[in-house]
Amino acid sequence: MNIFVCLKQVPARDSLIRVNTAGDWIDDGDLSFEMNEPDAFALEEGLRLKEKHGGEVVAVTAGPARSASTIREALAKGADRGILIEDDRFAQSDALATAGALAAALSKEKHDLVLTGLQSDDAGFGQVGVILAELLGLPHGTIIMEVVAEGIMEVSAEGSSIRVKRELEAGWFQHVEMPLPALLTIQSGINKVRYATLIGIKKAKSKPLQRYTPQDLGVELASRQSIRRLYAPKSAKQTQFLEGSPKEAAAKLLEKLRFEARVL
């Protein structure tokens, strides 16, 4: 099974994110970056499916040159090769433009299964996977919490199909079956992700990494959504901050909860 996993490199969790002087994007000079959280789960799911059913796992990203490190991480964890579509503008492109570039790269390849995360931690569109499915003409499932292990790859007369568990709202789930090739957007928590081993890191160095520019793929990277201003959100409530040592703050809080909010 040829599995493609789309990985986005995003600012590391708990980064201090500051608006730039122009007020229209962030100051990303001194940020550190990491693999988007659900994408790490998507990669793990891809690796597990490959271990069960054979084939290869290809890690794909569209981003600035720094994103190559996310591909290397995927190769170190066991992906067989990588594809990097390099352009600084991907950091701010809309989901349709990003998916267009990914689709152009993937349409050159034979894919049985395409995996993405369900949402990026920076842009938070929750769209690239679904658009990619549309552009590649694939059926899809979103917010996937399980790719049912046994019997999913059952090959019938019509070809093979897959059975997945989707997360619905408020604690509900649903199984869905669909033919392959297909695209799934993976939810965090679907599995336990592995760490890269030293051997894996060594091996990664010799694994192929295909680099493209959008022009190579014949795509024009034209985002139609643009950010005019970026700013800290306004508080919905007047928060009273309790200061002092932990002991003082704790005492003040309990006092407020007892006598002001009257909830204790």
């Binding site: 994110i17 679904v130 979103t142 709202e169 928590g189 950010i227 409530k237 809080l253």
Partner: protein, 328 residues
């Protein structure tokens, strides 16, 4: 020119964010001085259409077809595509539900259009609409404009518009079905019946006090500290998603859009950043307290009381103070 509002129902049960989308759609229609329509998609939805018609709308459009009885992304996209081609709206508004996340990007892409997802506000600047979206997990807001030609596709975040502010009509709007052409062979996925996994052993919805832990708690062992605090306060323990994903607490104690919705009189958020998917599950709480080492964590935007600090200092201090005052 018009706004088309797409409502959501499953098996005749309304998704209550439908009314938030109606409110948003009406507001946008006003800003642009154009008409508002609503669409109901499903099988046998005539009477549901009547329920939408009580809102101030030009017309309610029914996309009725037996192949739409169960939601599928193919079926719903194809049906709405026909409604959009028929009505030619300027803007299509959706509630940002899990179902909308599943098909709206596809529908918009089938028109070659971008989709502005999870919008929290809208204003008009000159002729153009400016939408507000959250970025970086709610740490920043962005004013976003969209270029190109109609239709524009937009979804609104849960709670960003109030469902009860949707305007009612003095006389019910007309309800009209459109012809939907759909073949079984066009629907590639086979959905099964939705089910629940929780054992229903804990009922957080009636807990008066909830102490909730997030990734800031760092290790499974540290949850005991929060549990002690919960016990001293006479409350229940709950958590954000990553804690339940790790199996540190059962799924039934997960608060948020995928988990429980609670509204206790006191909700104490320890080391929780305040992502919208968590906040939708607890923002109805009467008093919210947040303890977080990052003063810019979004959870403080909805907190009544905040302590900026390390929870590993603050929680033991709270435990001690409570023990002192109860003499235990």
């Amino acid at each position: 020119m018009s706004v088309l509002i797409v409502t959501e129902q499953r098996g005749g049960q309304w998704h209550k964010m439908s009314w938030e989308a109606v409110a948003a759609g009406q507001q946008i229609a006003k800003l642009l001085e154009i008409e508002a329509f609503a669409a109901v998609v499903g099988s046998g939805v005539e009477s549901l259409g009547g329920e939408v018609a009580k809102y101030k709308l030009t017309e309610v459009i029914l996309c009725n077809h037996e192949l739409l009885a169960d939601y599928t992304p193919d079926g719903f996209s194809l049906a709405l595509r026909q409604a959009i081609e028929h009505l030619k709206p300027e803007i299509v508004i959706f509630p940002h539900t899990y179902q909308v996340r599943d098909f709206a990007p596809k529908l918009a892409a089938s028109f070659g259009k971008p989709f502005l997802s999870d919008v929290v506000g809208v204003t008009r600047e000159d002729a153009a609409l400016i939408f507000v979206r959250q970025l970086f997990q709610g740490k920043l807001n962005a004013d976003v404009s969209v270029e190109g030609e109609a239709p524009f596709f937009v979804s609104v975040q849960s709670g960003a518009f109030r469902g009860d502010s949707a305007e009612s009509a003095s006389a019910p709007a007309a309800v009209r079905g459109i012809d939907v052409t759909l073949e079984a062979s066009q629907i590639r996925t086979r959905p099964q019946k939705p089910f629940r996994e929780s054992k229903g052993e804990v009922d957080l919805s009636s807990a008066p006090i909830i102490v909730s832990v997030g990734r800031g708690i760092k290790e499974a062992e540290n949850i005991a500290m929060a549990e002690e605090l919960a016990r001293l306060l006479g409350g229940e323990i709950a958590a954000s998603r990553p804690i339940c994903d790790n199996g540190w607490l059962p799924l039934e104690r997960q608060i948020g859009s995928s988990g429980q919705t609670v509204s206790p009189k006191l909700y104490l958020a320890l080391g929780i950043s305040g992502a919208i998917q968590h906040v939708v599950g607890m923002k109805g709480s009467r008093t919210v307290v947040a303890v977080n080492k990052d003063e810019s964590a979004p959870i403080f935007e909805i907190a009544d009381y905040g302590i900026v600090g390390d929870l590993f200092d603050v929680v033991p201090a709270l435990v001690e103070a409570l023990k002192e005052s109860s003499g235990d």
